[in-house]
């Protein structure tokens, strides 16, 4: 029997048999007896007082059974309040359905329940809402002299929901002593997550035993359960949240939305009736969380030899109309301030970040949270510094990278970097890319003519698998450092794993099965994994911050080892062998020095469950175990991307000629999944850098309300990506580093950097489009 470890090989994915044959089980597919459908009435105005809602006509529409508004007794008392004890944070409320006023175009004002979604939309059209307009705020960095006419929330008269200053060293002194000082003012474009399956939920409440079941396409079922228990005033054990197959998430489904809460509240008001809401694309673009609408005002000082001496930054993040629940309006600004300096050493740092309320859809977590913007900002400073010093931009970066000798490196934001693989990633990327060849081609074109060619570079650190000491969401009511995993040997010797991880298509069932198979000593095929059901698994915070391979994987490994120990102890007692001489491989127990197994795991399991008469003294029946894992800090994952782009002076067309990415994913569990994560996240990053842009007009109307105007990249727009790895195992049970987000971090910097390099200009805002390129070349 082959006992090759499952980890490190691209085993066939557990979920593919159903996902690739169209047999996935998504919330959108779910049909329950007597199920009814919900459509939301959404505000057409960005900011206004609600002066009246008339639901009479809607209730007359065929098939409509109920209409709920924010004032309905079932909805009225409830508000979502993202809480944090962080100084400088103002807590505000978000109603499940708007109450009193609306704060963004697209906010849910009422909900119509009907026999099907068509009829629900007919009913929604018939709801008449009167608004008295208020002055909208759309831009998060209006001149300070502009008075705020109508604040978004009365608790924040200046629209400031959060501000915080990160300070280290003496920035003013360091700038005064700098050989060159460079200034940049940058803005980044607003993105949406756009998973292929939009948000979806089915809620059903049984009044007799006060039990609520919520099937949701969420990334965070346990967080949802905890928050719902608080909001709905139900015992947490009475709520079951199930995330079945989920069609992508990218962070936007790591939020508990007002629509989710409204759906559950309505279900409680209609006991026994399952209520289903499946968001459509127009709703998603309008009302799911947005991200990356930022402004950076930066100053950096460099020594004559290129050493980065100081960074002074002012950052504005458009938080949108509400402080995203439960993460708070701090999610983007705090990440921006904490990780702006990226993989570069720096002692003197001052960065003031702000989360500003506006009359736009709330900002929330989206793959890479803030760092696609901060990497763009930091790399822009590096490029400006190189120009000012007449230094090679890559040499300047090298001069400042955190190196292996610096590890553990305490960043100026006090986060502790455990990686130091930046230069290794950069070296390998440059070698793969063949930088010399591209520089020669660039020179050749400059001399002989031809489309201008630019080389863009982005170096980044992805903070993954955050433990309790660096938990996502500072000073919130919960710490997201740990996950649990239960490993159960069934009576037949096969293994069922109840993991707290969730999957939105990234193959977590497979990854967890690989980890458990190796930790336990069984074949990958013998392991089945259950995820996403709060009634099955003990605990998991879910999918965000590239945390699950590190934390869920750590728990899976520990639980597997724990149960392996139990099984071996039982085997030793049954065979009267010394346990330290036994080994479990491929589901068989071997004694040191013997070729043939002494007992099978199946036999051990049979005794444990079915033959208590054979159980040795001191052994309990059953064969399972549960372990939690918390990495305490987290694992930094280094990455480097470098690309060559050409620009057509006649049309502005952008050609990506080569794109290389090298990342340190630590020990790699499933090579194809890891490369898939990197490729997908680079594609998403390229989308953000070149295509995707949510545009509001001055009145707060979304001008890019369909996929005709909000351009997602397709396979046709993404070049062949050349992906490489350096693997420095992290100090956690499986040695992995998170890999979910890193790819998104560099493309803004790479595309803008390549254009700047090609044309000798500075690129201060995104996206880079053909029209933009043409305007730059025809000033």
């Amino acid at each position: 029997m082959d006992h090759t470890p499952a980890a490190g090989t691209s085993v066939r994915r557990k979920e593919d048999a159903r996902l690739l044959t169209g047999r996935g089980r998504f919330v959108s597919d779910l049909a329950l007896p007597r199920m009814r459908h919900v459509a939301f009435v959404r505000s057409p105005v960005a900011h206004g007082r609600i002066t009246g809602i008339d639901t009479a006509e809607a209730l007359e529409v065929e098939g409509v059974s109920a209409v709920f508004t924010g004032e309905h007794p079932a909805i009225g008392p409830v508000a979502l309040r993202a809480q944090s004890a962080l100084p400088g944070y103002v807590e505000t409320d978000q109603p499940p359905l708007a109450r009193g006023k609306v704060r963004f175009a697209g906010e849910a004002v009422a909900a119509v329940v009907a026999d099907d979604r068509y009829l629900a939309e007919d009913g929604a059209e018939a709801v008449v809402v009167d608004y008295e307009p208020l002055t909208p705020t759309v831009c998060a960095w209006a001149e300070p002299t502009d008075p705020v006419h109508d604040p978004v929330h009365e608790q924040a008269p200046d629209n400031l929901l959060l501000s915080r200053t990160f300070r280290a060293g003496d920035v003013d002194a360091a700038l005064a002593g700098a050989h060159v000082v460079v200034d940049r003012e940058l803005t980044t474009n607003r993105h949406g997550g756009n998973p292929i399956e939009c948000r979806a939920g089915v809620a059903r409440y049984e009044a007799a035993d006060r039990k609520l079941t919520f099937l949701s396409g969420t990334q965070v079922p346990w967080i949802v359960r905890t928050q719902l228990a608080e909001l709905l005033d139900l015992p947490e054990g009475n709520i079951r949240v199930i995330a079945p197959d989920v069609g992508g998430g990218f962070g936007v489904k790591a939020v508990l939305y007002p629509e989710d809460v409204a759906l559950c509240l309505m279900a409680m008001a209609m006991p026994g009736t399952a209520l289903k809401w499946v968001e459509d694309r127009v709703e998603h673009l309008l009302a799911a969380t947005h991200a990356r609408d930022h402004r950076y005002v930066l100053r950096a000082g460099f020594a004559a030899d290129g050493e980065l001496l100081a960074v002074q930054a002012d950052v504005w993040c458009n938080a949108g109309a509400y402080s995203v629940y439960p993460w708070t309006a701090g999610i983007e600004p705090l990440m921006a301030g904490g990780l702006l300096t990226g993989p570069y050493k720096l002692a003197d740092y001052r960065c003031t970040v702000r989360g500003v309320a506006t009359n736009t859809s709330p900002s929330g977590p989206y793959r890479g949270v803030a760092r696609p913007s901060t990497v763009f900002a930091m790399e822009a400073l590096m490029d400006s510094g190189a120009r000012a010093l007449a230094m090679d931009p890559i040499a300047l970066r090298r001069r400042n990278l955190i190196l292996p000798a610096d590890i553990p490196y305490r960043m100026p934001s006090r986060l502790v970097d455990d990686s130091g693989a930046y230069e290794a990633c950069l070296d390998q990327a440059i070698a793969t890319f063949d930088l010399e060849r591209w520089r020669a081609e660039q020179t050749r074109r400059r001399v002989e003519g031809g489309r201008p060619l630019g080389i863009g570079v982005g170096l980044y650190n992805e903070l993954t698998g955050l433990g309790r000491a660096a938990s996502a969401g500072p000073r919130m009511a919960f710490r997201t450092g740990h996950d649990a995993c239960t490993v159960r040997i069934n009576p037949d010797g096969a293994v069922t794993v109840f993991s707290g991880v969730t999957s939105q298509g990234q193959g977590l069932e497979t990854t967890m099965a690989q980890v458990v198979a190796d930790a336990l000593g069984v074949a990958y095929e013998a392991v089945e994994v259950r995820i996403g059901d709060t009634d099955q698994s003990l605990w998991g915070f879910g999918a965000f911050s590239s945390r699950q391979a590190v934390i869920g994987g750590g728990a899976a490994h520990l639980a597997g080892e724990h149960v392996r120990g139990k099984a071996l102890a039982l085997a030793a007692a049954l065979r009267e062998a010394p346990v330290e001489d036994l080994d479990l491989r491929g589901g068989q127990v071997y004694m040191a020095g013997q070729e043939k197994p002494i007992i099978s795991l199946a036999e051990v399991a049979k005794v444990a469950y079915l033959q208590s008469d054979r159980l040795p003294e001191g052994f309990e029946p059953g064969l399972e175990g549960t372990k939690f894992y918390d990495p305490i800090r987290g694992a930094f994952a280094a990455g480097a991307q470098i690309a060559a782009l050409e620009f057509d002076p006649a049309t502005g067309e952008i050609g990506i000629l080569d794109w290389v990415c090298v990342e340190d994913a630590g020990r790699i569990v499933h090579p194809v999944i890891v490369d898939g994560q990197i490729a997908g996240s680079i594609a998403q990053g390229i989308g953000g850098a070149m295509y995707e842009h949510l545009v509001y007009d001055d009145a707060g109307n979304l001008a890019t309300g369909t996929l005709l105007d909000y351009l997602m990249p397709t396979a046709g727009e993404i070049p062949e990506l050349r992906i490489g790895h350096v693997s420095t195992p992290a100090a956690n049970p499986t040695g992995v580093r998170g890999v979910g987000e890193g790819g998104t971090l560099a493309p803004n910097a790479v595309v803008a950097g390549a254009l700047a390099d090609a044309l000798g200009v500075e690129i201060d805002d995104l996206p880079v489009t053909p029209a933009r390129v043409w305007e730059l070349m025809h000033p």
Binding site: E121, D122, E448, G450, T651, G652, A703, T706, T769, E775
Partner: protein, 281 residues
Amino acid sequence: MKCPPFDYHRATGVDDAVAALGAAGDEGKILAGGQSLVPVLALRLARPAVLVDVNRIPGLAGLEVRDGVLHAGALVRHLALAGQGLHPLAAEAARWIGHTAIRSRGTLAGSLAHADPAAELPAVLRACDGAVQVAGPSGTRRVRADDLFLGALQSALDDTEMITGVELPVPDAWGFAELARRHGDFAVVSVAAARFGDRVRIVVGGVAGVPHLVDAGDLATVDGELSADRVAILAAAAADDVDPATDLHGSAGYRRALTEQMTLRALADLAGQPRPVREPA
């Protein structure tokens, strides 16, 4: 994004379809490939009382050339148009429409009747000085391309009329060029160019409410070979002749520049010259 209620009528023939449209007054809409109509219905931007499904009408998917003119049935799908060799300009333009799924459903007449100024086939119809055959309550009529397009998404067709066939004269030489944000998107600017004898017709999509026929005056009359100089002059004339607007995907100045570039490319193809792009050696 679910359609409002409507009645559905599956037409058995052109007369039946016209009768159903007539009975619906101005509340009827033809369902052919549905590639523009269905999204508009889902967004509830259109609320026809009756959809008249013409997909099952026999005899409307033919393609044949008579006297130098391609006669195409109304229900010819973009995929079929892209795959035929009778009218290479129409074939090339059809390849630029959307993606395979869209091309396999969308129809020639549907695209013309929808009259999107950035769509490929209206530009081709105009470049070829083509026409559509129309059936209506008072009989049939023929509408020339120059008269068909009135404005963005506005055609000269009455709500009770349907296109039954399309006449596309086959040019002696042709060229087509387009720049779209992504593969399959509507054009930011497209140019269809067709030569019939000594006349060159240049039509620009995406720069006005209708596919814009460039008025190049005497410059459009070409004796013998179209020289590279004349190509450049015509492209500049095309850029001068358009008056585009600014939107999310580009400024007026950008669209004007693209008009020149796409015209250069299309005319280079037409003249059998290499496209004027500065490719790396």
